[in-house]
């Protein structure tokens, strides 16, 4: 495709990015109107691969659903099984043992580290810093190894059960977890230097894809996306589940480092990096404070299921996943399976925030802005330009545009 396709200002083009498969249940296709280089309209389609997981769930028993729920998302899978358990526990009035609360917290925070570090690599790749991509993903291996050491699996952990957890973390395993904690506290400085001090990354992300506080509230944004715009909202603190009431943590907003909140991509990077460090500190605290005791209220699964068979009522399970608030609604009516189950993943809410972020931005900035809310990035796998030109803009092409912009900025900065 010739360069002049983008230079033409007298006409507006429509450009579609996606779909393929983001790891959430909603794959995303973005349709954008482009005037010259500027985005003038944003629309999205989520209808590509709806798997009907909630429908399947209403034909399974609660224990089976835990494992189904883990498969909603490949990255933040623990949050779905945990949110579902929380909803069921609130209906059946099950008390989770304290030790299980701590183990749930440790697992959720390990997952947050892994998700945020993975995201940092993807963001670097979108900007054309592939060495940083490899560096951050190397960092991520450590936490995946720890998760495997503790649960037996790298990704789907299968550790949550109704009323507790399935595996204990023994004293013998503590040193390995502690080592991981120290590793991430140490690498925070280096990650901070790479992402926050580098002049090229800064100029690619500063004042790009701005989401104001007002817009974040209007679009119901959640998680780091909302916090980077100054909305103080974090379910870990606001509702305090698992072991969080004992941990006394703070809400991470970008003004902690820069003293101001602009709500741009740079701020979203800061919010996530701060959370990586915070997660490591939380795990450290958990290891120190974890009490002895049972890890589940009832070990025998048939007994758990028999107990759940005659409960009736509605429950809500909420928690803070790496990307924001996860919300599960469950209705049970004296049967083996729940009568109704509604899952709401964070991207569901954050997607509306794309519209104010992308409006008026350049085509080359679309990848990093779309990535900045941390959807699963496979949705930017390919792009098609339709309309008068009827030509195809591949993912490589879009990526190259982004890389070229970075190079250009680097050249300009050198000449200064």
């Amino acid at each position: 495709m010739g360069k002049n396709t983008f230079g033409a200002c007298d006409t507006s083009y429509s450009i579609s990015i996606g779909p393929v498969h983001p790891a959430l249940k909603e794959p995303v296709k973005l349709n954008m109107s482009i005037e010259g280089e500027k985005v003038t309209g944003v629309d999205f389609e989520l209808s590509q691969v709806h798997r009907g997981i909630e429908w399947i769930g209403t034909r399974r028993n609660p224990i089976q659903i835990l494992f189904l729920a883990e498969r909603i998302c490949g990255i933040c899978n623990i949050c779905h099984s945990l949110a579902f358990s929380k909803a069921v526990e609130s209906i059946a009035q099950i008390e989770v043992p304290e030790r299980a609360g701590y183990i749930r917290t440790i697992m959720a925070e390990l997952e947050r580290i892994h998700s945020h570090v993975l995201w940092a690599g993807v963001a670097a790749h979108e900007l054309g810093f592939d060495s940083v991509l490899h560096y951050t993903w190397k960092l991520r291996e450590n936490v995946l190894d720890t998760i495997e050491y503790l649960t037996g699996n790298r990704i789907t952990k299968a550790i949550i059960t109704i009323g507790g957890v399935r595996r204990d973390i023994t004293k013998k395993q503590f040193p390995a977890v502690k080592k991981t904690v120290d590793y991430y506290v140490k690498s925070f400085d280096k990650l901070g230097k790479i992402f926050l001090k580098d002049p090229v990354i800064k100029s690619r992300t500063r004042d790009v894809g701005i989401l104001t506080k007002k817009e974040a509230l209007a679009t119901c944004a959640v998680g780091p996306t909302a916090r980077a715009s100054g909305v103080k909202k974090d379910v870990r603190i606001d509702e305090s589940y698992a072991a969080y009431p004992d941990l006394d943590i703070e809400i991470m907003t970008p003004d902690i480092i820069t003293g101001e909140i602009r709500g741009d991509v740079y701020d979203r990077v800061i919010a996530r990096l701060l959370e990586v460090k915070q997660s490591a500190e939380i795990i450290d605290k958990c290891l120190k404070q974890m009490p002895e005791g049972k890890i589940t209220y009832e070990e025998k699964i048939p007994k758990v299921l028999a107990g759940l068979r005659d409960v009736k009522g509605e429950g809500i399970g909420r928690l803070e996943a790496p990307r924001g608030e996860v919300f599960h609604y469950v209705k049970m009516v004296d049967e083996d399976s729940p009568y109704s189950w509604k899952v709401r993943a964070p991207t569901y809410n954050n997607i509306m925030a794309w519209i104010p972020m992308l409006m008026g931005e350049q085509i080359a900035d679309i990848p990093i802005i779309a990535a900045s809310i941390d959807p699963c990035m496979s949705c930017t796998n390919r792009a098609v330009v339709s309309g008068k030109s009827n030509s195809i803009l591949t993912q490589d092409m879009l990526h190259r545009l982004s890389v070229e912009k970075t190079k250009e900025i680097r050249r300009l900065l050198k000449n200064d």
């Binding site: 209808s47 103080k232 809410n349």
Partner: protein
């Protein structure tokens, strides 16, 4: 702000249009015990929009989480889940407004005029439960593909449900 005061404020304002109010405090025992706070009530569908407006006025910037819904035989129930009082340590209250819609005339007003972020979930309710959201700015399908048959609604349990489309694999 307590869950009781939230429920009371709605009862006072809307009288008989707010029914079956319930406050739930789920104990969460750690060293520091806190309670997960839930407020549930049913609101008449004609008063939904006013109730949401009242919520925004009483408790500025409520967070709208999502709608959930199910087929309840003769009716379709939609739950509007909000949270208020966030950013206060363990102070968040989850407030659920239930709306009962008769299957013969499942129409309810849109709340996107008050909370623009509700658009996604309202579109989902339309295609999944076959309800009609009056005044919705964009009524296209969202999660269902265009090729999915018209008049079939995946979350319904009656003759409009998806049962006949399901291929049994076991």
């Amino acid at each position: 702000m307590t869950p009781e005061s939230v429920l009371k404020s709605f009862k006072n304002k809307f009288g008989t249009k707010v029914r079956k109010g319930m406050v739930e405090k789920i104990p969460h025992k750690m060293k520091h015990t806190n309670h997960l706070k839930r407020v549930w009530f049913e609101v008449d569908r004609t008063a939904l929009k006013k109730a949401v407006r009242h919520l925004c006025k009483q408790y500025p910037d409520p967070h709208f989480s999502v709608c959930s819904g199910y087929d309840a035989g003769k009716n379709i129930v939609i739950n509007y889940h909000f949270t208020v009082n966030y950013a206060h340590r363990t102070g968040e209250i989850v407030l659920t407004m239930k709306v009962n819609l008769p299957k013969k005339d499942p129409v309810v007003d849109t709340i996107t005029g008050i909370i623009p972020g509700a658009l996604i979930t309202e579109r989902e309710m339309q295609e999944m439960l076959g309800v009609k959201i009056k005044g919705i700015p964009d009524s296209r399908r969202l999660f269902l593909d265009e090729t999915f048959p018209k008049g079939v609604f995946p979350w319904r349990n009656d003759e409009k449900g998806p049962e006949k489309l399901v291929r049994r694999t076991n």
